[in-house]
Structure formats: C-alpha cells, structure tokens
Symmetry: C2
Subunit: 434 residues, 2 copies
C-alpha cells in the first residue's frame, strides 16, 4: 500500500509524481499536461494596478514598485482537485500544489514543512474569556519559524526559474529559513541582518554556509546592503519581503491549513503578529481563493494585525484611517521579528484587515511577555514573543468587547520560543553533588 | 466533510472519539467496550523475568528493578485496525492509539506531536557513499526534541492513573518536554538537571512553571535528588528513564512512523544516538509488534546504537560481548543528551542491537561536529549534535564496509540544532549603517 505520509524528497517528488487532475485536461499551453497539472499558476498581477505580468520569468516588483501577486486558473483547480483529494495527500504544505507556483514537482525543495498542529487551548482560553481559543503552532517547521513556508516555496520557484543565488535582509528568522532552503537546493545565499537580531538566527545562517553580514542598524539598512550586492551578482535574486512574488504563496498555506484543519470552515477571528505582513496578506489571499474555489463558504474571518507598541505603524495607520503606514521614529520591541518600521505591503495588510472587518492592535512588551508566561503555564506551549503578542491582544480585545466570548479564535504562533531563550528568566538553585 | 488533519485537543479527543474496532468485540473486562477499544493494553511485563504485572495502577520498575514493558492484545489490534485505517487518521503519534497505553481518549494530553518528516538526503548520502540516506527529523515536535513523544504518552497515562505530579532527572531535553506536558495536563513537575545541560532546556522548564533544580554533577546525581523528593510527595511519580513503563511507548512510535512512511516496510539500517536508549528499545519493540500484527514482513532492520567516544558504555559492552555496561570514568561529550554513563535499560539496548544484527559505534566530538556542518551545508538541515553523531557513524560504517552502498539507511535526528546554538561558530562581519 502507498505511504500515507511524507517521505520528503530533497529536490524531487518524482516517485510521488503522477498524472494529476480528474476533470478534463485543460488546453495545452506553454507547458505539457503533466507539468501544468501540478501547478495551475496562470500569471502575476500588480497588487496596485491589476496589470498582468509573465509568471515564467524571474520577477521582482511591478513597474510601479508594488508586490506582484500570483494568480491561478481557479476554475481548472476546482475541476482538478477537491478537499477530499487533498485529505489523502502527505501532511506538508505541498498538498496544495495546484495553487502553488512550482510547475515541476521535481523542483520542489522541501524539508517537510507545513501541516503544523492546530492546538486547542481551553485553559488559557477560559482565562482570557474566549474558550474556543486555538493556536496554529508554526514552531514545528524546519528552522523553527513560519518563515520556512515562504522559503520553501520561494526557493523552489527561484530554482525552477534558474536563479543562481538569493540575497535578503532579515530580522533573523527569514534569513535562517531561506539560507536553509538555499543550501537544500544547492544555490547561493547572502543574508544581512541587524546586529540586534536574535543570536540563534545567525547560527542558523552560518551552519548552512550562507554568506552572513551583521548590520549596525535596522532591517531597512540591511536591505540597502543587499540591493547593492545583488546588483553585482548576475543570476542572483533579491528576495526581500514582497520584492519577489512567491514568498507570499508559501505563507498563504497557513490559511489553507487553518480552514482544512477546522473541517473546511473558517474561525470567527484570526490574529497574526505583523511585521512585514506577508502572512496576513497570504492568509487573506488564501481565504479568497478558497471561496472562489467553493472550498469555503460564508463570511471571511476577521483578520487582526497585532503589533508591539514600540513599533506599530500598521496600527497607527489603521486608527488614522490611512491606506499606508508611516515609519515610527525609534522602533523597538522584544518581539524582534515584528520590528519592521515600513512594510512594502502595508497597504495590503490594511486592506486585509478592513475588508474582513478586522482590526489592528498594539500591545506592550510587558503585556506580551506576561502572555508568553501565562500561556506556557496554562498549556505547556512555549511560544515566541511575536506569537505571545497575539495572546495578549486576545485578552485586550475580549476586555473591550470587540471579541465575544463565544467566538472561535485562531492565533498564529509564528515560531518556537526556543528561538528567543532570553525572554524567559530562570531562577533555579544550583545544588552540590549529593 | 471531516477534518483530515489534527485539531489537537488539550486533554480530550472527545469530538474525535468514536466507537473503534471493526472486528468482534473482545471479552468484557474491567473496561467498557469503547474505552477498551481506544487502547488494547493488556498488562505490563518485567523485561528481565517476563512476569506479568497490573497495568492499571501506577507502576515503577518490576520487583527485580527492571523496566516494565507494556503488552497489548495484538490479535485484537489486528482485528480492529489496519494500516489503511491508520492512513486516514490525523498526523500525530496518537494515530497508533490501539498500541498505546491511554485507555480513555479524553485523557490524551497532546500538543500535536508525531508524524515528523522523513527527509531524503541524496546529496549528503552521495557524499557518504550511501545514496539512499534518510533522516527522521525529530526536531519538528513540541519542545524541539524527540523527548516530547515519551512525555506526551507518559504524562497522559500518568494523569489517567491519577498521578498528581511527576519528578525526574534529565540531561535537559526530557525535562523540558515532561515539564511542558505536565503543564498541559495541569499536574506538577519537578525537574533536576546537571548545571552543564544545554542552557535552553532550563528555560523550557522554567517557562512552564516547573520546579527546577540544577545539580553540580551528572544525570545520576540529579536522579538521587529526585528520588528523595518523590519520597516526600504523596501521589507524585518518579518518571526517570525506564523507571515508569510508558515513556518507551511514546518513543516506539518513531518505529511505527518509519515503517508507515516507507510504505509499511523497513529500511535496511536505522541509526540512533544512544544515551538512556529508550528510543532504540522502543523502535525494536515497535518493529516486533508490527511483525506480530502482520504490518511488517521480512527481516528487521539492523539497529545501530551510536555514542560519543567521551561516553560510550554501550559500545564498550557490545565490543566486549557483555550483556550489560560499565560506567566510564569521566564521561564527557558535546552531545550532552547522550552523556549517560549507566543506562537502566542497557541490556535491552544491547539485545536490540544484537538481535537485529546491528552494531554499536562511537564517534569523536570532532567527527560529529564536522558531520553537523557538512549535513547543514549539503541539505540545509541543522541537526542536534546527537543526531550529527549518527551521520558521522554512517560515514565510518560505510568506510569499514559494514554498510553497503546500496542499503537504505534511516538516521534519527533526535532534536533541533536550535537547542545547541553554541555548537555552531559564527564569523560574520559587523557593518556600519549604510
């Protein structure tokens, strides 16, 4: 009998590859039927102007400098695959391959990422007044953070399009993830991160052999360095947040998984810690795709962008009714991953929040560290400070009445607490040898 | 349609619970049909003398001080469930619940553990001369190490039997795991670890509210402290390695998963980093259970116990043809998790190795650190030093001819590299703000 679970190939799903699609084959295009069927990617679209762009060459942003969004032939997807088919596939994010951009399964670069647990949190939910509280635990992926999703899909597609190396600025976790998948794919990686980024993430870059630079500044400063480096390296791609089209496709699988894991329905509210915002943009994109596919019915969940008060440009813009954000003067929070003063996709984050009737909220470092501790004591889960910010936000939104007590709430914990050991104080006695 | 993947309840699989079992119901025993069907645990058996013991009260070791092994009514398991049934269950270790000891699904304490990726490693395999090399990546579980399996099953069963708190010595990772699951279950936890244990693991214990003690000594010294503490706490259980019967049941699921993920067949060789040895004992137990169930045919894989030269009592005993091990004088290795000078189950480890035609091999710290680096550069996977020891051992066994080039080899990586950041040197320039 066939394996029901993943034996993850490095660069090839060859042994699993089979003719996909149960409906009539689509029209023959630039790709043969087998290859086309694995992905039903159609084109790229400018997120500001809606103009179409070729998806089969290396692309950065659109001509007006906006992120490009991948579009699929969703009618053919709906004809080719059903939720019941997906249920029988291995538990990785590649189970949604028709709505992912990699055309040739042999180009998939995987370390087993995706299908992370959805964990009920009844004790902590009761404490917060929201008994139907759940956590999507993105600590359980390669490199320990949700960044692995974007890296797996982004690197796979880059390799498929002939990219020789990737270069990026990062607040730490994305760099470690992209470095890992670049090594897995056998391409080069250059990573630049603030010197204040979590120490473990530089180890994660170094161990895979990435070219690593520490910058005495913030992620934007690291970005300037990357831009210069890429200009000098033919065949290399700048994979800064939303400056290439496919990281978001990896991140959107969190949305597919949430809906699948709840039995192909959505919760009332999803909270997401927002730095660059790719995850919330991706989840919003996934929800709309699933509705168009007929896999999800009814209202979309309200999406909540959570930031830290030390760096809350999205929250400020939301409160002011603005379509874009303004960088704060002195951005600073223990939740380092969301120290992003100006996100290229800020307008897409604000749209996701507003279009779903969601909100944006900031919590203090004290609040998020207290939430981290309370959750771990209640449920045994050690989350990263960014994830903890969302739990603090749940408490605040319940107190204000924005969340009702009978609502079903999903929090994205975007990484393992292990990545930030210094957030946990230890006060243990050292005893002599008995 | 039902969810195909896990929405993990804290303490209850209530919504998933359903009458299990497709064959004729067994004889009514102390438990009603529904409860009995979730687990087909029959009794405990002394691993030295084969004497039966009651599985439905709290037990430690057998009267002769040997580990107790859980036994199941495997005929009824075979009648109740097939591999095809298992394929449709959520991707956690609880998919094997008939051969796990928890009788009531409502007592399952879960954070989504199990069904970790099986990752092909073609580039690193080619480097080592073993192209069919795979890694079972146990870094992708709650708390970041395979210890979560033993903790999930051990704590669940302890709670089911009325235990009020658990206390244990640890080299770090097991303590963090058991502390997490104890918090999840709402019972007490006392953990004692050597002051030299990996720093992150003490954070993992502290964050969940465990009572933590650091000991200026080795794991055996910590064990003496735990023994004294448990004596003073009615209702608490000493959950030291193999001093309670159910940790091994959690660990054995690695064996079930390897076989399921390969399509219900075994590889030629499995390598396992051996400290207390529960994993290799558990995998051996699982393989024999599956053969008895008819889920696995043919020869069992050769099991290889890997240690570090700085602490290699099992390797020494194997080489000397002895049935038990002698503690080394000054145990010391960077692979701290396998710094176990005297394992209670040493005779079971040696039996697993010998009965399967396996071997035991030690590698130096230099070799295992080089293997960690080479694997990360080849495949993007940052493994813990214990897992790295196994990759070093693959190279050595291939060189010696013990491994043939066409053999299929599975390495257990028992934890995330994140847990041991200091094993990776970083030499990155710090650049001024552009």
């Amino acid at each position: 009998m066939p394996p029901s679970s993943p034996s993850v190939p490095a660069r090839a799903h060859r042994r699993r590859a089979r003719p996909v699609g149960r409906g009539a084959p689509g029209p023959a295009g630039a790709h043969d039927r087998r290859v086309t069927a694995y992905s039903l990617l159609s084109h790229l679209e400018c997120s500001r102007e809606g103009t179409p762009h070729d998806a089969d060459v290396v692309q950065g942003t659109s001509p007006v400098g906006a992120p490009l969004l991948a579009r699929y032939d969703l009618d053919r997807v709906a004809a080719a695959v059903t939720p019941a088919d997906i249920a029988g596939r291995p538990p990785t994010l590649w189970r949604y391959h028709e709505v992912l951009p990699v055309r040739d399964p042999a180009r998939v670069v995987s370390l087993g990422e995706g299908m992370t647990p959805m964990v009920d949190l009844p004790r902590h939910g009761a404490r917060l007044g929201v008994p139907a509280l759940r956590m999507k635990d993105e600590g359980l992926v390669p490199t320990g953070s949700f960044k692995a999703r974007g890296a797996a899909v982004g690197v796979s597609r880059a390799v498929e399009l002939g990219v020789a190396g990737i270069a990026m600025p990062t607040n730490g976790n994305a760099g470690a993830a992209w470095a890992a998948y670049a090594a897995r794919a056998g391409i080069g990686a250059l990573v630049a991160m603030p010197v204040d980024a979590p120490q473990i993430t530089r180890r994660g870059c170094a161990v895979t052999g990435a070219e690593l630079y520490l910058v005495d500044g913030l992620i934007g400063d690291a970005g300037a360095l990357v831009k210069a480096a890429v200009g000098e390296r033919p065949g290399w791609q700048d994979t800064s947040t939303l400056r290439e089209p496919y990281r978001i496709e990896g991140k959107k699988t969190m949305g597919y998984e949430i809906v699948e894991q709840l039995g192909w329905r959505a919760p009332d509210v999803i909270l997401y810690p927002t730095g660059g915002g790719v995850g919330i943009i991706g989840i919003h994109k996934a929800l709309r795709e699933m509705r168009e596919l007929g896999w999800l019915r009814g209202e979309l969940p309200r999406l909540v962008a959570v930031q830290a008060t030390g760096c809350a440009p999205i929250v400020d813009a939301f409160a002011a009714g603005l379509a874009e954000s303004t960088p704060p003067a002195d951005p600073r929070t223990v939740a380092f991953g969301i120290t992003v003063p100006k996100a290229l996709g800020d307008f897409l984050v604000l749209d996701a929040v507003r279009a779903t009737g969601g909100t944006a909220i900031a919590v203090t470092d004290e609040e998020l560290l207290a939430a981290q501790s309370a959750l771990a004591r209640d449920e045994g889960a050690w989350v990263c400070p960014e994830g903890a910010a969302c739990f603090a936000a749940v408490g605040r939104l319940r107190e204000s009445g924005w969340l009702a007590g009978d609502e079903e709430v999903v929090v994205l914990n975007t990484g393992a607490g292990l990545l930030y050991p210094d957030t946990v104080p230890v006060d243990a006695p050292v005893l002599p040898r008995p």
